[in-house]
């Protein structure tokens, strides 16, 4: 269990019972910082509750009166739901693919002692140096030649490939920290190495898997460049492309664009808020080494 406990130890940010109230200056500057970060996002959300006339006459104002017709129209339109479903399919498939393939290969690198394990690790960590931008043109041609252009699979497969390096680099140390004794005990009980992998490694590495899974999902949800290259059919669009198309089609109808935009960011924001402790904790662990 020690891998799991070590992880949750790293994660324990909240010592709220002991923490005192800070002094007013600290709160003042913190609030300024938070305002800078959050107000533009709130502007998008609140903007959706206004009418175009309100936005034109008083761009910086609050909704007065509040209208929900923009949100209603977006929610009742097919376009939004199609794109939401596309984004969900892409995000979830990418996440599952990255996590499953990632944990399999990380297990090999972390627990099997063989000649090429360091080479494999080096190969994947070199992958961090190649963001998608550099390879996007030939990548697009390849996807087209494989007959995957304009299909969701054409986004999912490359995203899994580009998501692997970070997953492996997070998971390998994690799997290495599972004590040897556990594996020995398991083997004595008649478990095979794969059985150990299935029954012990996967449950124990859930926290690390969660971190990488969520990061992958949010990254996929926000992905723009690859869908831009691969998808040309509007019925296949993911939300980022949809937001852009919607905002150029309805450039006069600012309020509706804002409503569409805020609904599009909601899932990623919710997902992040629920799991933020895990992600930030994962980051802390990673930097601490």
């Amino acid at each position: 269990m020690s891998a799991a406990t070590a992880y949750s130890k790293k994660n324990s940010f909240h010592k709220s019972s002991k923490t005192p109230w800070g002094n007013p200056i600290v709160y003042f500057f913190s609030l300024v910082l938070v305002a800078i970060c959050v107000v533009p996002v709130l502007y998008i959300i609140f903007g959706g509750f206004r009418t175009n006339a309100q936005i034109t006459n008083n761009p910086a104002g609050l909704p007065n009166p509040w209208v929900i017709s923009n949100y209603k129209e977006v929610i009742t339109s097919d376009v939004f739901w199609t794109e939401l479903v596309n984004s969900l399919i892409v995000g979830i498939c990418t996440m599952i693919g990255v996590v499953v393939l990632g944990i399999m290969v990380s297990y090999v690198i972390a627990r099997y002692k063989f000649r090429y394990s360091t080479l494999m690790y080096a190969l994947f960590s070199a992958g961090l140096m190649f963001p998608m931008t550099v390879g996007i043109t030939p990548l697009y041609l390849m996807i087209r030649n494989l007959g995957l252009s304009n299909s969701l699979a054409g986004i999912i497969l490359p995203q899994i490939a580009f998501g692997l390096p970070q997953t492996i680099i997070i998971l390998v140390p994690f799997l290495q920290s599972i004590p040897m004794e556990l594996e020995e005990a398991c083997l004595l009980d008649g478990c095979s190495r794969l059985g150990f992998f299935w029954r012990m490694v996967i449950p124990l590495s859930m926290p690390g898997v969660a971190t990488t899974g969520i990061l992958t999902f949010v990254g996929s949800w926000n992905g723009y460049m690859l869908p831009l290259f691969v998808l040309s059919d509007e019925s296949k669009y993911t939300l980022p492309l949809g937001v852009q198309m919607f905002s150029s089609q309805h450039s006069v109808d600012t309020a509706r664009v804002l409503a569409f935009t805020s609904l599009a960011m909601l899932p990623a924001l919710i997902c992040f808020t629920i799991f933020q402790k895990k992600i930030v904790g994962g980051l802390t662990g990673a930097v601490k080494g």
Binding site: T19, Y43, P165
Partner: protein
């Protein structure tokens, strides 16, 4: 070579197990073990080579052709040698794009670095509610580039909310997006807004790994708050800072989404915010010149690689020079490398 070794190993499993005495796993057959390794790692390796490594190799090959993307370059294209590269490097638009990209690289470092350290110092104080604040400053980082672009381009219009607020404070509004003198600064501000949350969290994580005892000792010795930060926090934060600089540079070199969304592919050049990546997309896929686009991509790759390797050589491994022969130092270095890799990994989400 490999096959032969494997054959030998399968033929003499006992000898093999003996040779690897350090390995405590009771092996149920070397062949089975290899099969397991193969099954577990092959899918990931194949996918990775196919979609990450292969495109770069293909790109290098396409770069030598004048080619519209149909059929194969050798049949439907024209071999032009290095001409694509020469044209690209001589194109004033590309030179401008490179210049802008490096302005962005340096600008992001100069703006975000000090601010992120200050904010991290602030949030490193123990007070109620800081968990919430930490979550909230991460919001811009989680929101996608498209949404950031759409929202901000509305806010920054000539008659948008930002100018209205400025005017109500008695200042003149600015044409944030179209004025070529202002646009690059606008872009820098937007980038800082989007990514500073990440820098702050990274610095915070670095600060929390500094042992509490050091601060207590300094306090006992009568050091003031700023003196403590200067002589303890900053030096010990250096490794984190170095990683952040690296990540920020790689990210800036690849910048595409925000510019492409806010300024579009044509306006970005006139507004003076075109980056290497937007130039590549515009001249490559936009114009249908896939050979040329691939050549530009390779140039971007080489520039990024040079920057990354130079930085790694001179900064990331600086204080380990001459320690290579020492085994302990080597281990330490490896450990640190792993830690750096991990941080890199987590951060690549945003960079992509």
């Amino acid at each position: 070579m490999t096959e032969m070794n494997d054959a030998v190993a399968v033929g003499r499993p006992v000898a093999e197990t003996k040779k690897r005495g350090g390995e405590r796993k009771p092996s149920n057959g070397k062949g089975r073990r290899n099969l397991e390794i193969f099954i577990l790692s092959a899918p990931a390796i194949i996918l990775f080579c196919c979609f990450v490594i292969l495109p770069i190799i293909l790109g290098a090959y396409y770069g030598f052709y004048q080619w519209k993307g149909f059929g194969t370059p050798s049949e439907n294209g024209k071999f032009v040698g290095l001409q694509n590269y020469i044209v690209a490097l001589k194109d004033p638009n590309f030179q401008q794009a490179i210049l802008h990209t490096f302005e962005i690289v340096i600008g992001s470092l100069v703006i975000q670095g000090p601010l992120a350290i200050l904010f991290a110092l602030l949030l490193n104080q123990k007070f109620k509610g800081r968990g919430l604040i930490r979550t909230l400053i991460f919001v811009p980082y989680v929101v996608s580039e498209v949404i950031v672009g759409t929202g901000w381009s509305l806010l920054l219009q000539k008659k948008g909310a930002v100018n209205q607020i400025l005017e109500s404070l008695g200042m003149h509004g600015v044409d944030w997006l179209a004025n070529p003198k202002v646009a690059i600064w606008t872009l820098l501000l937007l980038i800082s807004w989007k990514y500073i949350g990440f820098a702050v969290i990274l610095m915070l994580a670095g600060m929390q790994s500094i042992p509490e005892e050091l601060y207590e000792a300094a306090k006992v010795d009568g050091a003031g708050f700023w003196q403590i930060q200067k002589s303890i926090t900053l030096p010990l934060l250096a490794p984190t800072l170095r990683i952040w600089v690296f990540l920020s540079m790689i990210g800036s070199l690849q910048l595409f989404d925000l510019v492409y969304i806010i300024w579009g592919q044509y306006v970005s050049t006139t507004a003076g915010v075109s980056t290497m990546a937007t130039y590549m997309v515009r001249e490559g896929r936009g114009a249908g010149n896939y050979g040329y686009g691939s050549a530009v991509a390779l140039i971007i790759f080489v520039i990024s690689l040079i920057v990354a390797l130079t930085y790694q050589h001179f900064v990331l491994n600086r204080d380990l020079d001459g320690a290579l022969t020492d085994k302990k130092a080597f281990k330490k270095r490896k450990k640190r490398q792993t830690a750096e890799d991990e941080a890199l990994a987590v951060a690549m989400e945003g960079v992509k």
